[in-house]
């Protein structure tokens, strides 16, 4: 721990990984002079058979250069570990929620371990106010299937920096849906590495930034083994002055990763002037022996023809815009897998839209 602290160098903002992030809004999380408070703040009620949740002293499962994660690891030696036993099949989602009061500059670690051939869906609910850095690791054993929905519904002055890292073993399937709508500054690194052939990762995202919000998602998929698959699909919309989103999609196909199948997509809708979306897909390929690799990125505005079509059927302009936005997000929102949460998110977006008059 002390080594990490001694060697730690706070980013200056000129680094590739931080060049889009307003470092002056991180409430000192990256500042070596500040103290991080170790606090694993997730709780769950009514754990079903085959599932345990406990704080354990344990080393991280993966390595990283991300400064925020390094700060977490230096401060927090214990991880909250959710274990889903092998062959467990959960019919209902496991919901992990935050305790109401999170410490200032909290450092949290969560590990979700799912055993061989187990199937589970986990919903991570983030509400309330937080200045929080978090290290999440998903450890998928052979043939398992883990679906994780991470909801950022933070209060408006919150800061959340996190790495959500998945280790996907042979024939395992990881499905992640990250929804970011709340918080002043949210920066998440959804990252994936593979441990065997037949492994598959689906990374979905939905974000909506309004006045002054900075929502950043930096995907990194490391195709380090052969015959693994990845699909990335992030959709975002922005409305209001200084609404800001950043989407980075780094996919590496290493020389050993023959038979890789990958595709990543990011779509952004700029709904008002004064908003800015950055979208940077990046594909590096070291072998030509692959099934497929591609990416697409688009940033556009409301489609006037869609709005005219709806309005010409009597639908008022404001409602037409709401329908188009809901339609734009529908594909990702349906992945949340809970109609009530989906509606809660969409209603929040409706309200934010109405507020900025988009």
């Amino acid at each position: 721990m002390s080594t990490l602290t001694t060697n730690y160098l706070a980013p200056s903002g000129r680094e590739e990984a931080w060049r889009f992030t307003p470092l002056n809004r991180l409430a000192g999380i990256l500042d070596a002079a500040t103290t991080m408070v170790p606090q694993n703040s997730f709780t769950a009620s009514n754990l079903p058979t085959g599932v345990t949740l406990e704080n354990l002293a344990m080393a991280p499962l993966s390595s990283t250069t991300d400064e925020a994660t390094l700060r977490v690891r230096a401060a927090q030696g214990e991880a909250l570990v959710l274990t889903i036993a092998a062959n467990t099949e959960l019919s209902e989602p496991l919901i992990l929620s935050r305790i109401p009061q999170i410490a200032e500059r909290a450092a949290s670690r969560l590990v979700i371990k799912i055993g061989t051939h187990a199937h589970a869906r986990v919903i991570l609910e983030n509400q309330g106010k937080a200045i929080l850095a978090e290290d999440i690791e998903y450890d998928l054993a052979d043939g398992s299937q883990l679906t994780v929905v991470s909801l950022q519904e933070w209060e408006s002055d919150s800061v959340y920096l996190a790495r959500h890292h998945a280790l996907v073993s042979k024939d395992a399937t990881f499905i992640s849906t990250i929804v970011s709508v709340g918080g002043s500054l949210v920066r998440i690194l959804p990252t994936v590495e593979y441990r065997g052939p037949g492994a598959s990762a689906e990374l979905n995202g939905l974000y909506f930034a309004t006045d002054g919000q900075h929502l950043e998602h930096r995907i990194h998929v490391d195709h380090n083994v052969g015959h693994a698959k990845s699909r990335v699909n992030y959709k975002g919309a922005l409305a209001g002055d200084k609404a800001r989103t950043v989407w980075i999609g780094d996919v590496y196909i290493r020389a050993a990763a023959e038979g890789t199948d990958t595709y990543e997509l990011n779509r952004n809708l700029l709904l008002t002037d004064g908003a800015r979306a950055d979208s940077v897909p990046n594909l590096e390929i070291e072998t030509g022996e692959i099934v497929g690799a591609g990416h697409a990125s688009t940033t556009g505005r409301f489609d006037d023809e869609q709005l005219f079509y709806l309005e010409s059927r009597g639908i008022p302009a404001e409602e037409a815009r709401r329908l188009v936005i809901r339609g734009f997000f529908a594909e990702i929102a349906s992945k949340i897998g809970s109609e009530s949460i989906q509606e809660r998110i969409m209603e929040r977006i409706d309200r934010d839209l109405a507020k900025v008059g988009a």
């Binding site: 489609d303 079509y309 709806l310 309005e311 010409s312 059927r313 009597g314 639908i315 339609g327 997000f329």
Partner: protein
């Protein structure tokens, strides 16, 4: 009994070279129960007439008036025009990804009728209207116009007309891209709405083919942004025989 009255309508569109005048003074009156065929060569301004009446933002009205039962249509927003009783069946219906047909129809009907339809009767009403247009019920769960064939899009337009019950409908090249079976089904739909609702119809078409199924009371020949000849159904027969050559612009 409703009347759509178009008087000396002049419309321009913004282009890279400035405003271009497309409609150069159109006069036309359509009453409930009447079918007016507007026929003319491509580029004569027929679609501009349709979209201007519906309020598409691309077109600028530079002169004239459009009234529905005396109310100033041109002063209305797009949705108000629909609520007033106008309907435009589009030549190229727009895809709206992620919005299901059933959600779209219910939202539109709620807006037009001023209240949400009763769930119990609504489901049956949609099912019946879809069956009459030989549409698969699975359609209701698909995204609006997304991945629809040309024929499916046109049936979907007529389905909306059937449910929204307008006073005056403008059918913009509804026959284009339809095979004979689809043309018959769509035409029967139009005739059904007309007979139940005493609908007034502006039927815009390039070809006389659809007039075998939807009988016009009046035929107007459109050329270079205005109506250049008007007559009864016999005028369509003349166009069938001679084409538009004699109306060609110089």
């Amino acid at each position: 009994m409703s009347t759509l009255e178009i008087k000396n309508l002049q419309v321009a569109v913004a282009t890279d070279e400035g405003f271009k005048e497309i409609l150069k003074g159109v006069d036309l009156t359509i009453k409930s129960g009447e079918t007016h065929a507007i026929m003319g060569p491509n580029g004569s301004g027929k679609s501009t007439l349709a979209y201007s009446i519906a309020g598409h933002p691309k077109y600028t009205i530079t002169g004239g008036s459009v009234t529905l039962d005396g109310a100033d249509v041109l002063a209305m927003s797009v949705d108000e025009r629909a609520k007033a009783g106008l309907f435009l069946a589009m030549q190229y219906p727009v895809e709206v990804p992620g919005v299901s047909v059933s959600n779209f129809l219910r939202t539109a009907v709620t807006a037009i009728r001023g209240e949400a339809p009763k769930v119990r009767t609504w489901v049956g009403e949609v099912k019946e209207a879809m069956a009459e247009l030989s549409m698969d019920p699975a359609f209701a769960e698909r995204s609006v116009n997304e991945g629809f064939s040309g024929g499916e899009k046109k049936r979907h337009e007529i389905l909306q007309m059937e449910l929204l019950k307008p006073k005056i409908a403008i059918l913009d090249e509804t026959d284009s891209g339809l095979d004979v079976d689809a043309l018959r089904i769509v035409s029967e739909g139009v005739n059904r709405v007309k007979s139940t609702n005493d609908l007034g119809i502006m039927l815009i078409t390039h070809y006389t083919r659809i007039l075998r199924y939807i009988k016009p009371d009046f035929v107007h020949v459109f050329s270079a942004g205005r109506i250049v000849e008007a007559g009864g159904p016999e005028l369509a027969d003349k166009l069938e025989a001679n084409g538009y050559a004699e109306y060609a612009t110089v």
